[in-house]
């Protein structure tokens, strides 16, 4: 409960229209250089966390990012639809386990986003 409140209070989990699979990458590309899809803070956290791991489970991501089940599912689905992350479902013993991993295009998008931020900082310092 506290975690979901935390995200809501930052305003980063604002309601957004559902994006279909084909439209999501297009939207990311069409909004200037800045990839709006991963610019949103929860999704940026998700992509950043997955960049440092081969894969992470839903539970680990939820605890790390301190967001609710619903928020994590929604953001993960958007990234998955955009092809930035890959999801696999299985079982760990008798417990269902959902694993996420960053796709090559997701890693490329994150690198591009970081380069964009660094370029912004460099430009401001001139």
């Amino acid at each position: 409960m506290a975690a979901s409140r935390k995200i809501s209070s930052t305003g980063s989990a604002q309601a957004e229209p559902v994006v279909n699979k084909a439209a999501a990458p297009a939207r990311a590309r069409n909004n200037g250089d800045l990839d709006q899809l991963i610019h949103e803070r929860s999704r940026l956290g998700l992509v950043s966390a997955l960049a440092s791991h081969k894969s992470m489970s839903f539970t680990e991501l939820k605890a790390l990012l301190q967001i609710s089940d619903g928020n994590l599912s929604t953001h993960a689905r958007k990234l998955e639809e955009a092809g930035y992350i890959e999801c696999s479902k299985g079982f760990d013993g008798r417990m269902p386990r959902t694993e996420y991993r960053l796709s090559p295009s997701g890693r490329k998008a994150l690198n591009k986003y970081i380069a964009h931020m660094e370029a912004l900082i460099a430009a401001m310092k001139k």
Binding site: R41, G45, H53, K54, L64, L65
Partner: protein
């Protein structure tokens, strides 16, 4: 993971834009660091080690000589370490990682010096015949090692370390049965926190 608003990067003043960009990069770095330590411990390993400590505590309490008593606990140390480490290896292998990745090395380097001091004190106190002080020292030093290593791990770990240190205070300052406190610490706390880590932190 502290999160702040970054919705309007494109519509702010140059200074604010710069700050927001830096804030975004800091957030990415913090998240990566947080993720890198998040799965550095095995809940199943802790539970296994805890379960092995319970019969060890019972067996140690039956011993009449210091040498036999300390032998039981040293044997338990080997068994518990083997269980915890093998299950940690299994967990990291399942996640496609190495136990000696950057976070694993940090945990180990934070944990080992205190444990080395514990080994030295154990040998010294045993040779001096002051074995009755060892349970408090073991619980206290293990708690301190866990708290230190826990800085780079999930929040439950430093909490567990603090509880070990409280048990140490109980043994060293009050007349409570040492084997009971060792069972509560190495058995009970490991099982409880191991279950918590297994349930909420990926196994």
């Amino acid at each position: 993971m502290k999160q702040s608003d970054n919705k309007e990067t494109g519509s702010t003043s140059p200074v604010s834009l710069n700050q927001r960009a830096e804030d975004n990069l800091r957030f990415i770095r913090d998240t990566m660091e947080g993720a890198s330590v998040f799965t550095g411990v095995s809940g199943m390993g802790y539970m296994g080690a805890g379960l092995s400590a319970l019969p060890a505590a019972w067996l140690a309490a039956q011993q009449t000589s210091d040498a036999a008593w300390i032998m039981v606990w040293m044997l338990e140390l080997v068994i518990a370490t083997a269980i915890a480490f093998s299950l940690l290896l299994r967990k990291t292998a399942r996640q496609g990682k190495s136990v000696l990745n950057a976070s694993g090395r940090k945990l180990l380097l934070a944990f080992l010096p205190t444990m080395a001091v514990g080994a030295l004190l154990t040998l010294s106190y045993f040779l001096q015949g002051r074995v009755s002080l060892l349970p408090g020292i073991w619980l206290g030093l293990y708690g301190a090692a866990v708290m230190t290593a826990g800085v780079w791990s999930v929040r439950a770990i430093p909490v567990m370390g603090a509880l070990f240190m409280m048990l140490a205070a109980g043994v060293l300052l009050a007349a409570v049965p040492a084997d009971l406190m060792l069972a509560l610490g190495f058995g009970g706390l490991h099982i409880i926190f191991g279950f918590w880590i297994w349930r909420y932190h990926g196994g």
